[in-house]
Point group: C4
C-alpha cells in the first residue's frame, strides 16, 4: 500500500513537470474554468483512431450504448478528447470534443455531455502515465464485481491482470448513491481505487480500464472480459487452475503492444464497415 | 399484501378519475363492446416508436416470433395500441391496431389477432400508471421462473428488479391449462400476480414487463434477461453476492429514464436497418 | 412398453391401409428397387417449404453442414423428399430428390446422396403418422445424450418433450461402429429406439426429430435444443425445478401448431435473405 | 511412451527419405539459409484453399487476429506456405509466402512475419505425416489448458481427440517466458509435446492442431473447441459421461475426411462473402 502511494506521488510529480508549459499558457483557464480555451486542432489520425476505438469496442460487445472512450490531448496533458453524449457505435469525428481535466468542455456548442465524464478527467489528473481510458459495462465483468472472487490472469493476452484489478465499492466512499460517477469527488474516489492498476471493476456497474495508448486500452478492454469468461469456465470445471506467473505476466507486458496493430486492422475494418 | 391492495385500489381511483372524460365520450363502446369506435388517428411518431420497440426487442434477442409490445393510447387511457398477429421483427406501421381494454379491436379489417392480447387489456385496466407493456419469452428468464431462486438486482441498469419480480404460476389460478393467457379471466389473474411490480415471470412461459413509457419498458426488457444471466454466472462463481441496496435501487430508478435516449438511438438504427 | 408396441402396431396397420394404393401402383419398385419410378412432380410450394426448412434450421444454428430435413411425398406415403448431399444452408429447389422407403433415389442423375438417408426411410416405414423428419447435431443436445440426465419439458414451446425423449445408444444394437446410420439395419434400430416418441437423442452424435408437418418439425427442432439449454441453466441454479405437468403438455400439444405460421414467416424471411 | 518415440523416429526416417530429392536440389539453402530459393509457383487452387482456411476459421470464431494456418509445399516437403503477418480474416492470395523449415522466408519483399512461425517449421520437421497446421487461441480451449481436466472425445466429429491431446507447459521447457514460440528451440519443444498427437493445448495460450490436409485441419480446429464446450456442459450436468470408445473413434477417424467437402462448401461460401 505504501509502495502504491509512493508510486502515485512520484507519478504526480512527473505529471506536474510535464504539464508546466501547458499550465502556463492556459492560465486563463483557471479564471474561466467553465469555458477553457482550445489547445487547437488535433491530428485527424488521432480523431479517426478515437472514433475507431469507440466503434470497435461496440462491435466487440464491450461497449453498450452508455460506455465511452477518451484519449489525452497529444499536445496538452491537461486536456482530453471524448465524444459528446452519444452511443459509441454511432460516433463520428464531429462528435469528438475537447475537455479540461475538470471535465469542462472547451466548446460545447450546445451538445449534451456524458454524465460520467469525470471518470476521464480525474484519472487523467491522478495518472500521468495514462493516455487512454475506457468506461465499460461489459457483462462478463459484473459477476466478478459483485462476488468475492478476484479476477486473475489465465490467458496470454490478459497478462496485465497480474498487476491486480481492484473492485471499486462506491458505498465505501459515498454511501447510497445512484452509482454513477456524477462529479469530481466521485471521480477522484474511483481514481483512488484504481491507484496504479490497469483497470478497476465497479461493483454492479462495470469497469474502468486505462492504458498507455488507444490500441493498448482497446486490447485490454477486449481481453479483460474474455479472461473473466475463461476464468468462470475453468472454475466450473473444478480443480486447481494454473494462472500466469507474475514473471510471465511481466515479460508479456513488456511486449504487450507487440502485434496489436495486426488485430487492430481487422477489428477496425469490421467495425467501420457497419455504417 | 394489504399495502399492495391499497396501492392498487388507489391506483384504480386515479385511473377512474383520469378516464372520466374518455369514458363519457366512449359510452357507446359499452353498448357495442365487440366493435368499439376509434378514438381517431394517433401521432405517427408514437406508431413509429411502437414499431421500433418491436423490432429493437426482436433484434436484441428479447422477443421471438410470438412476443408483443403495446402502448396505451395517448388520448384515451381506455384504449391501447398493438400489432395484428405478426412476428415483432416484421411489424410495420400498418400492422398497428387500436383495442379497447376488453381487448376488442376497433377495426380488425379481417386481420388476425394475438391470442394473448388480454395480457395488455387487463394490465391496462389494473395499472393506470402503466403506459407500455411487453410480453416476452426471453430464454434467460425461464430458469428463474421454474426454480425457486428469486431474481435480484445485480446491475445498475436493472435496479427496477429491487421492487420485486413475482412469479405467476398459472396452475394456482386455473389448474392445468395450455398456459396461454387466452381470455379476460387469465389476463386478470396475471395482472393480480403482477400487482404493482415492474414485471412478473410466467412459469415455463416467459414474462410480462411494464413501464411508464415505451423507452422505459424496452430498457427493462433488455436488462431483465441480462440481469438473469449475470445472476446465474455470479451464483456459479460461488460465495456471497452483493446485490443493489434498496436505497441504491430507489435512487437509480428516480433517474432510470436518464440517458435512455442515447441507447435507444443506437438500438433503433441497428434494428431498423435490417429490413 | 406394451402400450407403445400396441401404438406402433396400430400405427403400422394405419400405414398399411394408407399405402395400399401407392403400393399397388408401385409394384415394379419391388422388382427394380434400386431405380424406382417417380410418382411425378410435387407441388412447388412443398419444395419451397422443404428448402426453407433446411435454410431456417441452418440459420437458427440447429443444422450444421451435415444435418438434413425430409418430408414424406404428399401423394405417396412410400416416398420421401430429401436433398442431394449438400449443406442445408446452400440447398435449392433443384437439389431436392425423391426416394423410396428403402432410400433408393428415383433419379439420382449422378448426384451424391446423404450417407445417413436411411434414417428417413426407416422412420417413414415405422411411423406412418410422421410427415417430416430432421436429423441434427445441435450442440445443446449432446450433453444430454452422453450423460444420464433425461431431457424434460421446462418451456411452453417444447411441451412435446413430455412424451419422452429416448436416447439411442448405437453400441447396444451394433457394437463399435463409426456411429453413422449407414444402412437399413441401423436405420431400423434407430426407428425402434424412437418408437412413438417425437424425438430420440443419438449418443455422441445428435438427434432425430419427427413431426406431423414441416412447420411442426422445424418448431420442435428449434425448441428441443433451447429446452436443453434452459434445463442445464436451471439445474445449475440449484433446487427443485418445476417441469410442465403432463396434462399441461397434452393441452399445449393439442394446439402446438397454433400460431407456428407467425414465427415461420419471420424465420423464413431471415433465412432466405441470406443468399 | 516408448511406442510414441518409436513412432516419431520411424516418422523421421520416412521424412528423411521423402525429402532426399528436395534436400539435394536445395543444397544452396543450407549455405544461405536466411534467403532460400523458391521452389517455384504453387497451384492457385492450393493458395485459394489456404486463404479460405484462414477466413473460415476467423468466421467460425476459431482464429482471432493472431492465429495462423500453414500448409506444406505440395512439391517440396522442406517448404511450407504461410501468410505474412496479417489477421486471418483479411488474408488474400498475395499475402501467402514460402518458408523453409527453419522458417526463413524465400522472398520476404519487406513484409513482416509472424513471430511464432517456428511452430510451423518445427512441426513440419518433426511430423512428415502432417500437411497442414493451425495455431489458434480459441477461447473454449483455454479452460482445459489451465486446469487438470483432460479433453476427451464426446462427439462424433471430434473423434480424433481419442488419440490424446497433451498440454504443452512452456515453463517445463523454458522457465518463465513471454509464452510466445519465438524461436526454433521453443518450436521444437512444442513439437516434442505434440509428438504424434493431432493437437496439443498450450497452457494459457491456445493450441496447435495438425492434420493430413487443409480440410481435415480446419474441421479439427472447429470441432476441438466445440468438444471442449460440450464436455464442460456435460460435466456441469453431473454424473458419469459416456465418451467415445477408442474403437468407435478409430472407425470414425478412418473416415474422418468423409463428407468434409460438404461442410467446407458452406463454410467457405459464408466466409468469403464477407469481403
Amino acid at each position: 500500500m505504501i509502495s502504491k502511494l509512493q508510486h502515485r506521488r512520484s507519478g504526480r510529480t512527473i505529471w506536474f513537470a510535464m504539464s508546466v508549459a501547458a499550465t502556463l499558457c492556459c492560465a486563463s483557464v483557471v479564471v474561466a474554468q467553465t469555458s477553457p480555451i482550445s489547445t487547437g486542432p488535433v491530428d485527424p489520425q488521432l480523431i479517426e483512431d478515437l472514433v475507431a476505438a469507440n466503434r470497435i469496442l461496440a462491435d466487440q460487445g464491450v461497449l453498450d450504448g452508455w460506455g465511452h472512450v477518451s484519449v489525452r490531448h497529444p499536445r496538452d496533458p491537461n486536456r482530453y478528447l471524448l465524444s459528446r453524449s452519444r452511443a459509441p457505435e454511432l460516433i463520428d469525428a464531429e462528435d469528438i470534443m475537447e475537455f479540461d481535466l475538470d471535465s469542462n468542455p472547451v466548446d460545447a456548442k450546445g451538445r449534451s455531455l456524458y454524465t460520467e465524464r469525470f471518470i476521464h478527467g480525474e484519472i487523467c489528473k491522478a495518472r500521468p502515465d495514462v493516455i487512454a481510458i475506457v468506461h465499460t459495462h461489459a457483462p462478463a465483468l459484473i459477476p466478478f464485481g459483485i462476488s468475492k472472487v478476484p479476477l486473475k490472469p489465465v490467458y496470454l493476452r490478459s497478462a496485465f491482470i497480474a498487476a491486480g484489478i481492484p473492485v471499486f465499492e462506491i458505498r465505501e466512499r459515498a454511501g447510497m448513491t445512484d452509482m454513477l460517477i456524477r462529479d469530481h469527488t466521485l471521480g477522484r474516489a474511483l481514481a483512488d481505487a484504481l491507484a496504479s492498476h490497469p483497470a478497476a471493476l465497479m461493483r454492479g456497474h462495470g469497469a474502468v480500464i486505462v492504458g498507455p495508448s488507444l490500441q493498448r486500452v482497446v486490447g485490454r478492454s477486449i481481453f479483460l472480459p474474455l479472461n473473466a469468461t475463461l476464468q468462470m469456465q475453468a472454475a466450473a470445471l473444478g480443480g486447481p487452475i494454473t494462472y500466469l506467473d507474475p514473471e510471465e505476466a511481466r515479460k508479456i507486458e513488456e511486449r504487450e503492444g507487440y502485434g496489436l496493430g495486426r488485430a487492430w486492422e481487422a477489428w477496425k475494418r469490421k467495425a467501420m464497415a457497419k455504417h
